[in-house]
């Protein structure tokens, strides 16, 4: 029974990966990462229910805090990038190309 929750978590995680690799829009990529974090949260809560221990809840709480911090910083970076180049395409930023 509990396994269904876990399977759902896996499915959401995989959809998140799909979003990261197939979209070029900066926001969509960022939101897919948030989706992956949520899927992980679901897994934590499920396991915590399975073992009847509160550790999973605490971890999910901490993950949420980290996600919030990361969201703030990532969006600040997105604003700066938009100011710099004027478009939201991840393919434009190719300074890593050696």
């Amino acid at each position: 029974m509990i396994q269904n929750y876990l399977i759902l978590s896996v499915i959401l995680f995989c959809i998140g990966i799909l979003g990261v690799i197939s979209r070029r829009n900066v926001f969509t990529v960022f939101m897919s990462i948030e989706l992956m974090l949520n899927a992980a949260n679901l897994a934590f809560i499920t396991f915590s229910r399975l073992h009847e221990s509160m550790d999973g809840h605490v971890l999910a709480l901490l993950v949420m805090a980290v996600a919030a911090a990361e969201a703030a910083l990532a969006l600040a970076v997105v604003i700066l990038l938009h100011k710099h180049k004027g478009n939201l395409d991840t393919n434009v930023f190719s300074l890593l190309k050696g």
Binding site: I21, V29, N91, F93, S94, L95, K97, G98
Partner: protein, 637 residues
């Protein structure tokens, strides 16, 4: 059974250290300010003389022991031990090797002293003595080695030094080519030696691979393997001691300085093959067929070389072919299991042949490097010391009694006859006559009659004392050494044969005394005939003839060198040129170029992966993750 004698290791060590020191001094000073020749000469002679004293110590040490226990061993260290193969750097002094030690160090020292005078003025003076000391050290390792592997170290060392010394006057390409020829032909023999050693090890090496252990296990050899070992080792001996078919290097080796010819190509290196056969007498004695092969190759070489020597005009080439011929005698002796006779001939031959070479060097030195006997003549009064010592050497070589050569050669011929090898005896007698003929042809043409080249004759003068004293010492040896092995018929007691008995496996057949007298008389008769013919043709002076027919063929050494060149050398060269013109560019080079081309293309392909977009890198990560999951999911079930 062996006694320990830790001074044995010093005997080869002194000349080797000398070589190192002199070599370093020469290298460091030859371009700036060369050291004085006196110093090099002194440094060079110290090593051999010290080795000679130690050889005397070893000899008297052995003499003090009872006959069955005459083995002195010195194990310096374990060289390598792999499985059954356990080789020590060890030295063994027994009667055979101590006899060799004595005359090698003695004649080596004398020739070092002679070279101090002969090589004076040469700009590579130091280098010469470094090489000469190195040679002596290697020869001593060869003689003293306690097993075939250590002997082989010395074997290779003397081959190397032979090459270095033959090509010593390296400005002339012919000398270098002669050195190359010597080394390459020697190498062919060495291959046989190594194969023989390997088969021997494979057959009976499990119980230890030094002489004493091999002798204890030799009865385990089957006849097929034993004969193979004997013949393969003999191939090595053919290379080193210039027998058919590998004798061609020795006449060319006369391109080296005369002391080198005396030491290496007369007295010591070329006798290494005979030493080796005598060392392995415990194998050769088991297989008489192998012995017969050795004996017949030897005596035929003696015959062939004597024919060549009868027509040569270069004084050193006559002596070179004479050496080949005498070596043939020695192999004939050890082939019919008369080991002590062969070794005794090695001993006396070392004295009189070194004497002849040194005296020839003295003549060449006096006439300012003239070597053609048809341009000499009448030097008897101008070079008296040289003349009388050389005459003693010639008498010994020809086998005139009572000089040493007569006793040793006669012992060989008598043993051949006594062991039933009549054919060998007959050819041997014939060759003895030819030997007498060519030796006295040389003596008459060089020293008697009218001088053929007036100007050189006028400038000739006796060489300095440092060169003539060794001649006199050697002459004494050549004259009186026969006393050491007098057979019973002359009142002696075969001292050398008895001395060598613990080292070699030999039977002395009992034959009637009339046979012995017959053998002696036939040798003397044939020698007399040879001397007489030479006197008739050349005693009153003669002019250089035009050779025709058989004489022409003989003078050109039966065109053997040309045949070898056409059959072997050109084939090999053609093979090499095919490889370098077709095989190398098309096959190996293209293979190498293919792999480098592949690397370049792969590099360009991999460069395409570095796109610079993070999304693509994320895709790479996912690809990796998915492959990993594919792999991991196999493990879960």
């Amino acid at each position: 059974m062996e006694h320990n004698a830790t001074y044995l290791g010093l005997i080869p060590l002194f000349p080797l250290i000398g070589a190192l020191v002199i070599g370093l001094l020469h290298m460091l000073t030859c371009t700036k300010r060369p050291l004085s020749e006196k110093m090099y000469g002194a440094l060079a002679c110290v090593g051999p003389i010290l080795s000679f004293f130690l050889a005397l110590v070893a000899f008297f040490h052995l003499k003090g022991l009872p006959a069955e226990e005459r083995f002195l061993a010195h194990n310096v260290y374990t060289w390598f031990a792999v499985g059954d193969l356990h080789i020590n750097m060890g030295f063994l002094a027994d009667p055979l090797s101590s006899l060799f030690l004595l005359f090698v160090t003695f004649i080596g020292s004398l020739i070092h002293i002679y070279s101090v005078g002969y090589m004076a003025g040469d700009k590579n003076y130091g280098k010469f003595f470094a090489y000469l000391n190195l040679f002596l050290g290697s020869m001593l390792i060869l003689v003293l080695g306690s097993g075939p592997v250590v002997m082989f170290v010395g074997w290779e060392g003397v081959g190397l030094c032979s090459y270095l010394l033959i090509s010593f006057f390296s400005e002339d390409t012919d000398n270098v080519l002669a050195g190359n020829k010597a080394f390459i032909v020697n190498r062919i023999g060495d291959l046989g030696f190594v194969l023989g050693m390997s088969v021997l090890f494979w057959a009976i090496g499990a119980g230890g691979f030094d002489y004493l252990a091999l002798q204890a296990n030799a009865h385990n050899l089957t006849s097929a393997i034993g004969i193979t070992v004997c013949l393969l080792l003999f191939v090595g001996a053919c290379g080193k001691s210039a027998q058919i078919p590998l004798y061609v290097w020795l006449p060319d080796a006369m391109a080296g300085p005369t002391p080198v010819s005396a030491l290496i190509h007369a007295a010591t290196m070329v006798t290494a093959g005979v030493y080796m056969v005598a060392r392995f007498s415990f194998i050769y004695a088991q297989f008489p067929i192998a012995g017969s092969v050795v004996a017949w190759v030897g005596i035929l070489t003696a015959l062939l070389a004597a024919i060549f020597a009868m027509f040569q005009k270069d004084i050193k080439k006559i002596l070179a072919y004479s050496t080949v011929s005498q070596l043939g005698y020695m192999f004939a002796a050890v082939g019919v299991t008369a080991y002590s006779a062969g070794i005794f001939h090695v001993f006396t031959h070392a004295f009189f042949k070194a004497l002849l070479f040194l005296a020839a060097g003295s003549v060449i030195y006096a006439l300012h490097h003239q070597q053609d006997i048809w341009k000499m003549g009448g030097l008897k009064d101008k070079l008296p010391k040289t003349y009388w010592t050389m005459m003693i050497g010639a008498l010994a070589l020809a086998g005139v009694p009572p000089f040493s050569g007569f006793f040793s050669k006669d012992e060989i011929l008598f043993s051949a006859l006594a062991n039933g090898h009549t054919g060998i005896w007959l050819i041997g007698v014939l060759v003895a006559g030819m030997t007498a003929y060519y030796t006295f042809r040389m003596m008459f043409l060089v020293f008697h009659g009218e001088p053929r080249d007036k100007e050189a004759y006028d400038h000739a003068h006796e060489p300095p004392a440092v060169m003539t004293i060794p001649l006199i010492v050697l002459a004494v040896g050549a004259a009186f050494a026969g006393v050491l092995n007098l057979p019973a018929i002359f009142g002696g007691s075969l001292n050398v044969s008895h001395w060598l008995a613990p080292s070699v496996v030999e039977q002395h057949p009992h034959v009637s005394i009339w046979l012995e007298i017959f053998a002696i008389l036939s040798s003397v008769a044939v020698v007399a005939v040879g001397v007489y013919i030479a006197y008739k043709k050349f005693g009153q002076g003669a002019e250089e003839p035009e050779f025709t027919g058989f004489a022409k063929v003989g003078y050109n050494k039966f065109y053997v060198d040309e045949i070898y060149n056409a059959v072997f050398v050109q084939t090999y060269k053609g093979f090499g040129s095919v490889i370098s013109r077709f095989l190398e560019p098309k096959v190996t080079d293209s293979g190498v170029k293919l792999s480098s081309w592949l690397y370049q293309k792969a590099g360009i392909a991999f460069k395409a992966l570095q796109v610079g977009y993070v999304r693509i890198y994320a895709i790479y990560m996912v690809i990796g993750l998915s492959l990993m999951s594919l792999f991991l999911s196999q493990t879960i079930n």
